[in-house]
């Protein structure tokens, strides 16, 4: 499985305008220049998959999303893990700095940092995850189930910035398309799109057009 496929979840963030902050060097090593989120040796913690930054129209950072992979973590350690990351976030908000940004520019990030925890289905629906998500301390936490490198369809709407499935939720594309194919084009058979009236009578010309349409459909 390619890395791109393994990390299909990334597309929801990038499509919504979030900028990834973790780089990779030529050796494929992850690089992050925010100390608060790195290990003591400067390496990027293994569970930290990405940090996404969103800036407002003025270029001021307004939202920070930490994508943390907890799929191989034990449920009993989850709360501790979340707390540990909350501490890193607090440290960052108090003392950190973003690359290319001034220290003061972090003031809008307060209450706008969120941990997105990539989980297995079991973990995402565990009590530990529930208690984490209920917490308003320092950052919001959201556990999402990852399958085949992607957020499962039913949990995608939980991503706060993601609205794709909500604007056309009940439409079955295939069925709609099938329905569309069963209808004539407006150009050829405008008469069939007119509002029903009991007094209305279809002309012979209309009937010929209807026959042509239905006979072609048969072919």
């Amino acid at each position: 499985m390619s890395e791109q496929f393994e990390e299909a979840w990334r597309v929801y963030f990038t499509k919504s305008g979030y900028q990834p902050l973790i780089q990779k060097d030529i050796n494929g090593e992850k690089k992050l220049i925010i100390d608060e989120f790195c290990n003591d040796d400067g390496t990027v913690p293994e569970e930290l998959k990405e940090i996404y930054l969103l800036c407002n129209k003025s270029g001021i950072p307004c939202e920070l999303l930490l994508v943390i992979d907890v799929r191989d973590k034990q449920q009993k350690n989850l709360n501790a893990l979340c707390r540990a990351w909350d501490e890193r976030i607090l440290s960052f908000l108090n003392f950190g700095i973003l690359p290319g940004q001034e220290r003061q520019s972090l003031y809008l990030l307060k209450y706008n940092v969120m941990q997105i925890l990539l989980s297995t289905s079991v973990t995402a629906h565990s009590n530990a995850a529930a208690s984490g998500e209920k917490s308003t301390d320092i950052s919001r936490k959201l556990f999402v189930t990852i399958e085949n490198g992607d957020v499962i369809e039913s949990e995608r709407p939980m991503l706060p910035f993601y609205f794709d499935q909500l604007t056309k939720p009940t439409r079955t594309a295939d069925s709609e398309s099938e329905l569309e194919q069963m209808l004539p084009t407006r150009d050829n058979l405008a008469c069939l799109y007119e509002t029903y009236s009991p007094e209305r009578s279809f002309s012979e010309k209309d009937l010929i057009s209807v026959k042509e349409w239905l006979s072609n459909g048969k072919d």
């Binding site: 307004c62 209450y111 706060p160 909500l166 604007t167 069963m182 799109y193 239905l214 006979s215």
Partner: protein, 801 residues
């Protein structure tokens, strides 16, 4: 896109007069309007004012008001419902809403002078480009902006654009059917596909009618067979005999080939009428013959009676009547007969023919009766005179008695007691007088007795005579009555037996008296040779001719010849006159003309058959084409209907999970693990559905107030997402519904609004958001979150004003 730029409220609810503007420092319309303030400060009234201006109604007030008013008019008193309580009677309540439609400004204005909700109780207008347009245009503009279709606009607006506590409570009370309807809102209307389906169904009906009409217009197979049969008959009779060259009537054209078909037809009709004319005469003869046969047969059977009737003129109605009157008279005399009516009855009886008491006899009897009566009465009179002598005797007796007393008085007193004279009386001594008197009395009594006895005898004689006379008269009347009865009976019997004879005789204009002495009619002129066989032959002859002429009911000739004669006479009126009848000639002429006509007819029928077959073929083709199209339309309509039903079912099924998506965006890890609709699997769109969680527990029973608030927000947001591309109005109103929601859910909600109000978002469904709360922290969190995303906020802080 349409946004609300400003609001001006006058004398509405809590407000006297207040203006609000929702624009940034740069003059742009603010996407978020945050309304804060304590309870009763007017947060809800702002949303109410907008709703009233747009719809004329305030649903969260109207529904409870209607419930209150339903059973208690007083409780429904509308004071303060709409107008500010300080509003004077004549003062207007009004709300103006300034709308920005892609940079173009319009003002919606609604006024009312009554405290009544409902669009009909207020005036609505729109001001565009400085011009005030009437209510209809304003309504049309609204319908276009909201794409509200045919739904009630007030219900529509409240349902899709407002979320408040009243609505939350209403939702908990929804029945399963209402819940189903709420969820159907999330499905597509497929209005275009439905229109196509309706039109296809109409085409099907139209084709059905057209096919039925064509079927009716087609010449039936039965008719074609009939025409073919007629054609065949005409072909077989193709040999035409020559037209007989004897003239039957003046204008007859003997060279018939020169005649046009219609002229030939006219000549044929004249000949047939001529035939009828002759038959009419035959029928007259037949009727006469039949009558004569009846006369003959009757005479043979009732000869004696007939001749008796002739003698007694019983065929005349008066004859019997006279007898009946005589009988009546006799019966009357019988009833009137008493000793007092002897003279009158006797005279009548003496005039009767059939009694023994002649007129002379009666005179003698009556004279005898009268004489006896007279004799008795004379004796009676004499006896009465004699009885008057008794009175004289009494007077004499008294006088004798008185004389004795007077004499005694004279003797004693020496003078008369009457005149006082003293001279002595000079009359006979009293003994002489008494002797005279006794002698006289004896003679008188003897005479009186004789008279009395004589009167008794005479009376008895008279009475005997009277009784005899009475008896004789009665007997005579009884005999007369019986005799008349007998005669009447006999005559009636004769009349019964002879009436048919005389009817026919009269009908034949014969004189009855001419039959009085005849012994038989067999040899009489006019009756000779008439019998049933002769008549039968005559009938048959007539029937044959009538049948040939084409007369339908030939049996009339036997059954009702008179009726047949009347009908045939009418048919004969068209006959040319004079008409020379020669049966063979006439038959040949008619046959000749008929066959000629048949030949024309053959051509016509052949042509008609070809035309009709050709026409039927065209109709068959049209029917086939229309049937093919009808089948195609039926097939497609069926498939379309099935597809639409399937889509509806699928969509309704997916509504609950969809709402759970929206819900789970707001609410984290609740006790609810999902939403679903429980019902009849086959017919979700029509059934009553229960809104449950994944374990089929009814949601509305187990959901908390906080969760219900979040669910109602999900419902509002879900509809907002679905209406993203519908209409141009995407402003939503949430009024103080978040009080029961916990912090993390509020953060989720604010984040969601934040993402929606961010500019240039592809999936933005909310263009403007009005949010009211009395929670200061929530207000600050909203402001902080929006500030991060640089979303302009208009803060309406009612605590400060």
């Amino acid at each position: 896109m349409v946004k609300i730029k400003a609001l001006h409220i006058h004398m509405f609810r809590i407000y006297h007069d207040r203006e609000f503007t929702f624009i940034t420092e740069t003059g742009e319309v603010t996407p978020l309007i945050l309304i804060t303030g304590g309870n009763g400060k007017g947060k809800t009234s702002i949303v109410d004012a907008i709703e009233w201006c747009l719809t004329g109604n305030v649903q969260h007030l109207n529904k409870p008001f209607e419930i209150r008013s339903k059973s208690d008019h007083r409780a429904g008193h509308s004071l303060g419902l709409l107008r500010n309580k300080d509003c004077k009677r004549a003062e207007e309540t009004w709300v103006s809403l300034t709308i920005d439609e892609n940079g173009v400004e319009s003002v919606l204005h609604r006024t009312a002078t009554k405290n009544e909700l409902g669009a009909d109780n207020s005036f609505f207008s729109i001001i565009k480009n400085g011009e005030t347009l009437d209510e209809e245009i304003a309504k049309k503009w609204l319908a276009q902006c909201f794409d509200s279709g045919n739904r009630s606009f007030a219900d529509f607006f409240y349902k899709y654009f407002i979320c408040d506590l009243q609505k939350t409570e209403d939702f908990r009370c929804k029945s399963r059917k209402e819940m189903t309807e709420e969820f159907e809102d999330f499905t597509l209307e497929h209005s275009e596909a439905n229109r196509v389906l309706t039109n296809l169904e109409q085409i099907q009906l139209q084709l059905e009618t057209q096919i039925a009409t064509l079927q009716e217009t087609k010449t039936s197979e039965e008719k074609l067979v009939q025409l073919e049969q007629e054609q065949q008959n005409l072909k077989e009779a193709a040999q035409i005999p020559a037209y007989t060259q004897h003239v039957s009537y003046q204008d007859e054209q003997l060279d018939v080939d020169k005649l046009k078909p219609e002229e030939q037809q006219a000549q044929l009709e004249s000949l047939i009428a001529g035939g009828y004319l002759t038959v009419s005469g035959w029928l007259t003869d037949l009727v006469l013959l039949r009558r004569k046969l009846v006369v003959k047969e009757q005479f043979e059977t009732h000869k004696a009676d007939i001749q008796q009737a002739i003698r007694k003129k019983l065929y005349e109605p008066n004859t019997l009547r006279i007898l009946e009157e005589q009988k009546k008279k006799v019966v009357e005399q019988l009833q009137n007969l008493t000793p007092q009516t002897l003279e009158q009855v006797g005279k009548v009886v003496s005039e009767l023919k059939n009694t023994k008491l002649t007129s002379d006899m009666w005179e003698i009897r009556w004279t005898e009766y009268c004489n006896l009566n007279s004799t008795w009465h004379t004796t009676e009179s004499t006896f009465d005179d004699c009885k008057k002598g008794d009175e004289l005797l009494t007077a004499f007796s008294r006088l004798v008695n008185l004389r004795t007393k007077i004499d005694s008085y004279r003797k004693e007193n020496k003078k008369c007691p009457l005149c006082g004279a003293e001279e002595p009386f000079t009359s006979e001594p009293i003994e002489q007088l008494a002797l005279e008197a006794e002698k006289y009395v004896k003679a008188h009594d003897a005479r009186k007795l004789a008279l009395q006895q004589q009167a008794i005898r005479e009376k008895q004689s008279w009475e005997d005579c009277q009784n005899r006379l009475y008896k004789d008269l009665k007997d005579a009347l009884e005999i007369s009555k019986k005799s008349l009865n007998d005669e009447l009976g006999a005559d009636q019997k004769i009349i019964e037996n002879t009436s048919l004879f005389f009817t026919q005789v009269v009908a034949l204009n014969l004189v009855p008296e001419s039959f009085v002495d005849l012994t038989t009619l067999e040899t009489q002129d006019g009756f000779f040779g008439i019998d049933a066989i002769l008549i039968q032959k005559q009938e048959q002859k007539i029937k044959d001719m009538l049948k040939f002429l084409g007369y339908a009911d030939v049996e009339q000739v036997t059954s009702i010849p008179e009726t047949a004669q009347t009908v045939i006479s009418q048919l004969a009126q068209k006959a040319p006159k004079p008409f020379v009848f020669a049966e063979i000639d006439l038959r040949e002429k008619i046959v000749s003309l008929r066959l000629r006509k048949g030949n024309h007819h053959l051509e016509e029928i052949t042509k008609e058959l070809v035309d009709k077959r050709k026409q039927n073929s065209v109709f068959d083709k049209q029917i086939q084409e229309k049937t093919t199209l009808q089948n195609l339309v039926k097939e497609r309509a069926g498939a379309l209907r099935q597809k639409l039903n399937q889509l509806k079912v699928d969509e309704v099924k997916s509504v609950a999970p969809y709402l759970f998506y929206v819900f789970s965006k707001l609410v984290k890890h609740t006790t609810l693990d999902g939403f679903q609709l429980e019902g009849n699997n086959a017919r979700e769109t029509e059934a009553k559905l229960t809104f449950t969680d994944q374990n089929k527990n009814p949601i509305l029973n187990i959901i908390s107030d906080g969760q219900l608030g979040a669910f109602m927000l999900s419902y509002l947001l879900g509809n907002a997402f679905l209406r993203k591309d519908i209409g141009s109005f995407h402003c939503y109103f949430v009024d103080d519904i978040t009080n029961s929601m916990d912090d993390i859910n509020l953060v989720s909600f604010i984040d969601l609004i934040k993402y929606q109000l961010t500019e240039k978002k592809e999936n933005t469904a909310i263009q403007q958001f009005f949010f009211s709360t009395c929670d200061g922290n929530l207000k600050r969190l909203f402001q902080y979150k929006m500030a991060g995303f640089e979303i302009p906020v208009t803060l309406v802080d009612l605590d400060e004003s």
